[in-house]
Amino acid sequence: MHDERQTPRLVLRNISKRFQSVIANDQIGFSVGPGQVHALLGENGAGKSTLVKIIYGVLQADEGKIQWNGRDEVITSPHRARELGIGMVFQHFSLFEAMTVLENIALGIDNAPDLKELADRIVSVSRKYGLPLDPSREIHTLSVGERQRVEIVRCLLQNPKLLIMDEPTSVLTPQEVGRLFVTLRQLSDEGCSILYISHKLQEIKELCHHATVLRGGRVVGQCDPAVETARSMAQLMIGAELKQLVRRAGTITQEPRLIVSNLTLPTDHPFGVNLKGISFEVGAGEIFGIAGVAGNGQNELTEALAGEVVLRSPSTIRLDGKPIAQMNAEKRRMNGLCSVPEERAGHASVPEMTLAENTLLTARNRMGLAHQGFIQLREARSFAERIIEEFSVKASGPTATAATLSGGNLQKFIVGREVLQSPEVLIISQPTWGVDAAAAAAIHQALFKLAQSGTAIVVVSQDLDELLVVSDRLAVINRGTLSPALSTAEASIDQIGMLMGGVHGLEGDAGSSHNAG
């Protein structure tokens, strides 16, 4: 356990970093004790990732000092950080898909022993910490949870004194989260400090000894998560009162509007997933959630539903009884099926084009923004204005390019573009991925309102907490097959976690010790 009286392992003093006009870190200071699990809490864009990159030597601070075990240090490179005993598990894994586990680990550690010896050490370390790994497998064959294990084992092989974990649980099943926490507690008991970055308050309450809260690049609070409530920490993090979501009162009809029956689709992508016999129904006014760990066929399914991939048998997808599976995306749109893909910049919008021009991508025919092949720029502009106003998008106007909007604002604009077309069916993927809490709440509210008007909505998300809030029923996609639908009110986290694939890998008591939600 950590002890406040010892020399702190890491002390930060007045760390500042700016990128062009943006101040990412502004005079940040805090300290981490030996064996302490220290949470770094903040919304997207609060400056957490920049700060840990500075600690790990990937970025250099403009100002400020770092003390390591009581001595001033300049961490010039990741190499130097590892020498000092700092390990880091990145949010976006720094793994090489086409290479083996062994090679990936060898690349990340300095003075690597020969590969045979390293393989033995990997197996022994992974056994000691309950993180089973096969050194000879190639990364692209591993699940996301297994990939994270590779990163963690890579750090552990170097006996770190400080382990930095950047949003480690955002891609894990609840069972995997439980197992990870067991490993982290074991490390903390052995005296390894952990800097734990997250915006998931329940996890921080459960795991961390201390929390530093960042907002807009500054430290806005220090607290003991055990005594705070999730709500009080959230308000510290957001800096405002949380708006309570208004759950709709609308009724769900028995008659399904969207029927997907036995959707089977072999992938043509080298690392893709084959969809196998997917069937579900969504009623008018219903929000249907599709949960699952990334890379289990979500992309393939949303493409097939949106019409980016056309299916051979028309009746695989029916909208109000009409077979639409053989139609392309635009024909489906004209029949009332709109969609929001996961990738907002580059897929849902063209970053270099203006907002008015971006409305043309999907609303061209439904909203009459083109006439006999000619763009009606005035109509497009006024439609963009309407979206900006109704969804309170922060933008300089309809002539602003999409690239100038923040993630949250662009997402609001794109959701608004589809919602204002009053679709019969809306397919939406990762609606609030990487957006701030206020924008996420606004998007959820918009989905509720749309459902109330009778639209059938399919939400595909990796964020289980989000699906539990928004959806009426949900199903889990795992390796291209869809589980039977569960009513959200009755489903338990453990049950959903099992369906997400938490069953394979380690059978464990670790899973049951975790109570999220």
Binding site: G57, V58, L59, Q60, S77, P78, H79, R82, F90, F93, S94, L95, F96, E97, A98, M99, E103, A106, L107, G108, A112, D268, H269, P270
Partner: protein, 307 residues
């Protein structure tokens, strides 16, 4: 009589394949590091003219070969400086490099047209070269042929077995990840690009010092482009690239012999190797093998480390 013509044809196939093998192996290393250098043709020509000029001037073909490698690498250095340091577009710069190489080699070589240089001596391996049929084919070639095969073997070993080779592959898979692990991305790419240039230069030297021992403007006649295609054909693996190079060399020689047998215009047969390239590339890109056709993930993507 028959065995003699088999010997002749096989020896010719190996000769025709060697310049391709040099250039393609070099380009393979470049591409595995994530850099797409389309200037292979230009670098080969620079190697051919420099090798020839130095060999004629000094009377020493070994010096010529060395100079050819240096010349190829020098042109590659221009490419590396433009694309890796100054962040110029790799495709455009590579194309410009080829055109530049064609022009510069013609200028440098204008005084050497029509001159001759003694062909490289055949390096007979004692004992082995007197074996029937395979002896003269496999063990009676000149030194550059052995070097090209050795280079392929060394490249395969380097990429698969050594730590620097692993680092090079990592940089070609994801420059960002490699950078965040602290690997020197730009330095690795520079070295790979220089190696590719030197290998292309050797391929050029083989043409002007051994295959047809003379200098002629544009004498590579598209072999640099074929080498680029061979890298794809070999799905970025050294031994498959070697197989591709020999297959292509085989088609080149067979069409010469076929011209004597069938009464079609010679141009039709000259087209054959190129048609074969297109056909093979189409088949491997469209067929069920596509999933296994794994290009380096970061190929052609520029990388600028954030500071």
């Amino acid at each position: 009589m028959i065995s003699e013509s088999i010997v002749n044809i096989s020896a010719a196939v190996i000769s025709a394949s060697t310049p391709l093998l040099f250039a393609a192996t070099g380009e393979l290393v470049v591409e595995r590091s994530g850099v797409l250098n389309l200037g292979v043709e230009g670098m080969m020509l620079m190697g051919a003219v420099t090798g020839f000029a130095v060999a004629v001037s000094t009377g020493n073909p070994m010096l010529g070969i060395l100079a050819a490698a240096v010349a190829g690498a020098a042109l590659a250095l221009v490419f590396a400086a433009l694309t890796l340091t100054l962040m110029a577009n790799q495709v455009a710069t590579g194309l410009a490099l080829t055109i530049f190489g064609i022009g510069l080699s013609a200028l440098l070589g204008s005084g050497f047209v029509g001159q001759t240089v003694p062909a490289l001596p055949k390096l007979a391996l004692p004992g082995l070269s007197s074996l029937p049929v395979v002896g003269p084919v496999l063990f009676g070639q000149d030194g550059l042929v052995y070097l090209s095969v050795a280079l392929t073997a060394a490249t395969a070993w380097f990429l698969k077995r050594t730590r620097p080779g692993m680092m090079l592959r990592a940089v070609g898979e994801s420059a960002e990840s490699a950078h965040s692990l602290g690997l020197p991305v730009i330095r690795i790419r520079y070295l790979a690009t220089l190696f590719g240039g030197a290998a292309a230069g050797l391929g050029g030297a083989f043409l002007s010092l051994s295959y047809t021992p003379m200098w002629m403007e544009g004498m590579t006649s598209g072999r640099g482009w074929i080498a680029l295609a061979l890298v794809v054909f070999g799905s970025w693996r050294p031994w498959r690239v070697l197989a591709g190079a020999y297959l292509f060399g085989g088609v080149t020689i067979l069409q010469l012999h076929a011209q004597g047998i069938f009464s079609l215009p010679a141009q039709v047969f000259s087209m054959l190797p190129y048609l074969a390239t297109i056909a093979v590339l189409t088949i491997i890109s469209a067929g069920p093998w596509r999933g296994r056709l794994t290009a380096p993930a970061a190929l052609g993507k520029p990388f600028r480390p954030s500071v």
